[in-house]
Symmetry: C2
Subunit: 205 residues, 2 copies
């Protein structure tokens, strides 16, 4: 049995031979006729320095787009790497999501949101290769990060800057138990939508 | 005429000879009998590397106390300096408040709260030497920082972690136009009060 968090649901063409859904599943009305669903094992593991060359191309693309991340759009690779790839002995952690072909399709990092007397609240960042989006990679990464943060002794997790037009992410975080504590008005200058709000999202662990 | 922002109100013993309050002021009922009020010019200027030895002793005392700052309580001087003393060409600014005797009694730093598409919202930090508290130094620093941030083109200012038990600071920020956007529950472990909330405070510029 593949642990739940290592599964992502996809429906690529030609997947009918996978034997899924099982007989009788169609009686529920889902999936609709002609749609098949397969389970793809998705490995979430600690990132290593050697993963960086596979992370940077899609990270750069996401940051340059300037639609979802509050980072300088011309961020250098060196600074991005220093921010993202946490190394011991700090409390930061970085993981990657690897598909069955061995391709890194996403990454996440976790760190204390503040220091000292406030270091029991974690924050996290997520990047999924846009070429591999919509498959549940972000959900798998977040479920892993939540479990890990709990194991690491954090009491809550806070996202400081979720762009309100990034509705897919907002819906995903909500479905994983996060609520919007506040929306900082006009705090993000979206290249198409203009000034939009940044949600501060939170959940206990 | 001393600019408003360079004044702080204090009432030290022996100040009666200052000629303040002016004749007739007592008719308003304030200050009460026996209390005198003097105006002390407080210079707010850009910090230099040479100011650091005067800043670090009270900063260290504040951080070690662990009651108001979300920093590691054993933060090294080197890291504190790197965080606090901004240098060109970055957008961060650091100022000090200097009393008439030439003593540095407080300091503030300002920086973009996030990067790239969110870099138009500033954040700021304030430290007032506890030995010089209650004189309006924090207010003078904040008024300066707000004016400077406006001049620098920021559209708003956000404080990410105002400890809710730091009621004097909360009242001061409110009086300067900040509102509490949200309170992150139990996000700060106060050495006496235990887990208390962290206010996220905000004002447009």
């Amino acid at each position: 049995m593949i642990p739940r968090r290592h599964q992502a649901i996809v429906s690529p063409p030609g997947a009918a031979a996978s034997g899924w859904p099982p007989p009788g599943a169609a009686a529920s009305g889902w999936p609709p006729p002609g749609v098949v669903v397969i389970l793809v094992p998705m490995l979430i593991r600690d990132a290593t320095a050697g993963d960086w060359p596979a992370i940077w191309p899609f990270m750069r693309r996401i940051v340059e787009a300037g639609e979802t991340f509050s980072w300088d759009r011309d961020l250098t690779e060196e600074r991005a790497r220093a921010f993202w790839l946490h190394e011991p002995p700090g409390r930061g952690r970085t993981v990657v999501a690897v598909d069955p072909a061995g391709t890194i399709v996403g990454t996440a990092e976790t760190h204390p949101n503040h220091g000292g007397p406030a270091a029991h609240v974690a924050s996290a960042g997520f990047m999924v290769d846009p070429g591999h989006g919509g498959r549940g990679v972000g959900r798998a990464l977040c479920e892993h990060v939540l479990d890990q943060a709990r194991a690491d002794g954090y009491r809550a997790m806070q996202f400081n800057a979720v762009v309100e037009t990034n509705t897919r992410a907002v819906a995903l975080w909500r479905s994983l138990g996060f609520e919007v504590l506040a929306t900082v008005p006009e705090a993000f200058n979206h290249p198409v939508a203009g000034y939009v709000g940044l949600h501060i999202m939170y959940r206990r662990l």
